[in-house]
């Protein structure tokens, strides 16, 4: 896989992606689900009622207590992993560019999801949503993923709320939504995160940042070109304005992070200048969700 080199894949091979039970899907998989069905993991006993499948009566308990009780098992299901990849114009900034890091992250999430038999789907978004590509279930789907990522050129403005609405409108099943973005748009994030939370998705936001976003080094008489909209603004940039700009961006990111957390999501920040393995470890780390297989992750 060209996007992920061998070293990264070895790191990813040790990673697992934990999904909260309520965010699992319908097929059998490796994630715990809230449903009690025909799984292998014992969950509880319950009194027998007429009509129950007699094959699940715990005869050993009946022998000890003289009452018919049924054995209930947790059903292990797979999960949908929706990877929303920001392909707006602002992702072209940074060195390496934010889109390059984001593409590797998207591929990493898809790769890990594939390995744990989840259905991962990379969905590029800008101010709208393209047609949903097919989910990746196995190694045979990786070339299609590579083509998809290669075709993701950063351009256009950001409208995250509209993208989320489009995602919901297409009947996307509940799952994990990994949003890989630089969050460098002033609006739409709170609505988008709230909507995702309301849809029952587990939200994980990977903010890919670069030094220019928070602490640019240029100054002087400048004509600023908006990488997303192409808008041009003339400014005399000096130290005071740079400080003010940094404060504005920090304030915006803090608001977006709080919106994400209110929606039950996780907020992870990475920088393009960090080593890729460190980025991967940070993105796949975090709160431990016990899996159906008993893993710590």
């Amino acid at each position: 896989m060209a996007v992920l080199d061998r070293a990264i894949r070895r790191v990813l091979d040790r990673m697992r992606l934990g999904v909260r039970p309520r965010a699992t899907a319908g097929r059998q998989g490796s994630h715990r689900s809230p449903l009690k069905a025909h799984g292998v993991e014992f969950a509880e006993h319950r009194p027998y009622v007429p009509g129950d499948d007699v094959r699940h009566i715990d005869w050993k308990a009946f022998a000890r207590h003289g009452q018919l009780v049924m054995r209930n098992y947790e059903e292990e299901r797979d999960a949908f992993i929706h990877i929303l990849l920001d392909v707006t114009g602002s992702m072209s900034r940074g060195a390496p560019t934010k889109i390059e890091v984001a593409q590797q992250l998207a591929a990493s999430f898809a790769y890990v999801g594939m390995r744990q038999f989840d259905r991962a789907r990379v969905v590029p978004f800008a101010d709208e949503l393209d047609d949903l590509p097919l989910a990746i279930r196995g190694a045979q789907d990786l070339p299609a993923l590579e083509r998809l990522l290669a075709a993701a050129e950063p351009a256009g403005p950001t409208n995250f709320a509209a993208a989320v609405k489009a995602l919901a409108a297409r009947g996307t099943p509940r799952g994990m939504v990994v949003v890989i973005t630089d969050v460098m748009a002033p609006e739409g994030w709170e609505d988008g995160f709230r909507h995702l939370g309301a849809m029952g998705h587990e939200v994980r936001v990977i903010r890919v940042g670069c030094a220019e976003d928070l602490a640019p080094t240029f100054s002087g008489e400048l004509e600023l070109h908006d990488a997303e909209t192409g808008e041009r603004v003339r400014l005399r940039v000096n130290k005071a304005l740079l400080e003010r700009y940094g404060a504005e961006v920090k304030k915006h990111l803090e608001a977006a992070r709080e919106s994400c957390q209110r929606a039950g999501g996780r907020w992870i920040e990475v920088d393009v200048e960090m080593p890729m393995d460190a980025i991967v470890k940070r993105c796949f780390g975090g709160p431990v969700h016990r899996t159906a297989a008993g893993s710590d992750r």
């Binding site: 602002s90 400048l222 908006d226 990488a227």
Partner: protein, 596 residues
């Protein structure tokens, strides 16, 4: 503020050009560099929150632009050399002081050098909008440069510009400048570049502007230098030099007097503040002399001698004219000795017997006849005769007087100039009967013992003293009396002429004139001598000295008056300070980042 050198159209063109330049520079400076950012919204929010409250950021570029424009206009004003006072466009006639005081050194620069700079500067600007002429204000005003529009003409005219050794006739120069403007028909101004004002009471039609040069300066000068023949020592001359200090400090100098290359006097002199001192030296014997007095090694406490031209003076002692004398006597050693010391008398001796056969024609070759105890025939009508002890009947000689006592002499008469006859003894003398017009040179009571008679055709002196019976012949006064009588009778003056004044002419006629430097002067008539020194006209030497013009160096009365009349610093300085302040303000506005 004066923009006299520029027409309004020129000023407008310059100002417009400057404004366009500023606008271009402003636009160039305002052209930003492109910079791609993730999202400009955050930049806009930052700019909005950092906008100054007392002045809207959007206005600041215009304020900065207007300041730049004002700076440009002030630059234009500065180029125009702003000055307080009035200015006139059109013809400018520059009166350039070429007097001796312009040679004074103020600091390290001569006044004339600074004046030439001022002239060139004004001409460079004046010719941009009008014509200019230059009048040289020397001892005699003259037009140095006729009206022209080409600054190159001035360079040619000022090449080799020299000062006169005499004072400048500024008033005459200003009048000449006024006439030039009047005849040109254009409005104009007279620009006087001088170290003194033209004084009060001079009315001109054109406006006068004085550009003063020079500051107060000290100088030690030779105020007078002359030489004269010594009346008490025939053939010798005496020099006298007068020094003056035009300084409020103690001063000293080395005074040297030379006759050509021969030193006559070399001494150290001191001068009190503002004082003067005279020195004389006598006893120099020479047929002729060309004298130069010079002050060197001048030391003024806490200052320096600013002017060199007044440290030199010249004088000449011309050679005496030869006198052909016919001495008729039977023998008189005293008289012969007195004639022998006469430096320019060519004496020829003749006996009374031979003299009786001489005719007027043969005697006309002599300048003076001296007859000792010899009668003067009536037929001889020689114009110059000196008689000693004439026989009775001559000049009304009425007979001898025994032991007369000289009671009075006519010392004011040239024939007895400097002669003192106090207490002489006279054993015997002839009394003269005077005629109307006779002057009694020596009197004994009512008797005339010596008479001088001057008619239209003759000068005659008769001494009735018997030279063999008086002690006069043994006194120093005797040869002087003979000399003076001989000079008067021959109508010859041996007094030394005073040095001539600068500005006077030399008439060369067919003779060659050599200047002070020994170079021949290619002119038959020098209308006005400008430089002091000794000029040689043929065999004659004439000294032109500037010592008579010695006086305090003008400094500055006019300059001081200009300073006191301007309570403010020069306008150019004010404009420059304003420029600096505006540039700082504009820089502060721009670099505090308030432009948006």
């Amino acid at each position: 503020m004066t923009f006299a050198a520029f027409a309004w159209s020129t000023i407008a063109a310059i100002a417009g050009g400057a404004a366009l330049t500023v606008l271009a520079l402003y636009l160039l400076r305002r052209t930003p560099r492109p910079q791609v950012v993730s999202n400009v919204t955050f930049w806009m929010r930052a700019a909005q929150s950092s906008r100054p409250r007392f002045l809207r950021a959007s206005k600041i570029p215009w304020v900065a632009f207007l300041i730049s424009l004002l700076v440009a206009l002030l630059f234009v004003g500065e180029i125009g050399d702003p000055r307080f006072g009035r200015g006139v466009r059109g013809t400018t006639v520059i009166v350039l002081d070429a007097g001796r005081s312009m040679g004074a050194t103020d600091g390290s620069e001569r006044r004339v050098d600074r004046a030439l700079r001022e002239v060139r500067r004004w001409v460079d600007r004046s010719t941009a909008g009008g014509r200019v002429a230059v009048v040289r204000a020397g001892m005699r005003p003259e037009t140095l440069l006729a009206l022209t529009e080409d600054p190159a003409d001035l360079d040619r005219a000022l090449t080799g510009f020299e000062l006169d050794d005499g004072p400048a006739d500024l008033r005459g120069a200003v009048r000449l400048a006024d006439r030039i403007i009047t005849t040109s028909g254009d409005p104009g101004q007279i620009l006087v570049v001088a170290d003194q004002d033209v004084g009060e009471g001079l009315e001109t039609q054109a406006t006068r502007v004085l550009v003063p040069v020079g500051v107060p300066a000290d100088t030690i000068a030779i105020g007078d230098f002359s030489a004269r023949r010594d009346p008490l020592a025939a053939g010798e001359y005496t020099t006298q030099v007068q020094l003056r200090s035009f300084s409020s400090r103690e001063a000293g100098a080395r005074l040297q007097i030379y006759d050509g290359d021969v030193p006559l006097l070399d001494r150290r002199v001191t001068l009190s503040p503002g004082g003067g001192v005279s020195y004389s030296a006598q006893g120099f014997s020479a047929e002729r002399a060309e004298l130069t007095a010079r002050l060197t090694d001048i030391e003024i406490t806490g200052s320096h001698d600013a002017l060199e031209v007044d440290d030199v003076a010249h004088a000449v002692v011309p050679a005496l004219d030869p006198i052909a004398v016919l001495y008729v006597s039977a023998g008189n050693p005293y008289l012969e000795a007195a004639l022998a010391v006469h430096p320019n008398a060519n004496v020829e001796t003749m006996s009374p017997a031979d003299f009786g056969g001489q005719s007027d024609e043969t005697l006309s070759g002599y300048d003076v006849l001296i007859l000792d105890r010899t009668p003067l025939p009536e037929r001889i009508a020689h114009s110059s005769v000196v008689l000693f002890s004439p026989p009775s009947g001559q000049l009304g000689a009425s007979g001898p007087a025994e032991s007369p006592r000289v009671t009075a002499i006519l010392g004011s008469h040239p024939a007895l100039h400097g002669v003192r006859l106090d207490g002489i003894r006279v054993g015997r003398a002839v009394r003269f009967t005077t005629e109307p017009g006779d002057q009694v040179l020596m009197r004994s009571g009512s008797d005339a013992l010596a008479v001088a008679r001057e008619t239209q055709s003759r000068r005659l002196v008769a001494y009735g003293l018997d030279l063999s019976a008086t002690d006069l012949v043994e006194r120093e006064a005797f040869p002087l009396m003979v000399h003076d009588s001989l000079q008067w009778a021959a109508a010859v003056r041996d007094d030394v002429p005073l040095p001539r004044r600068l500005g006077e002419p030399i008439y060369a006629a067919d003779q060659t004139v050599l200047g002070p430097d020994g170079e021949p002067v290619d002119a038959t008539v020098l209308a006005a001598i400008r430089h002091q020194g000794i000029y040689h006209v043929g065999e004659r030497a004439e000294a032109f000295s500037a010592a008579i013009h010695s006086r305090e160096i003008p400094s500055g009365a006019s300059a001081a008056r200009f300073r006191t009349s301007d309570p403010l610093p020069p306008l150019a300085v004010l404009v420059a300070l304003g420029l600096l302040a505006l540039i700082l303000l504009e820089w502060t506005l721009v670099h505090r980042g308030r432009l948006s």
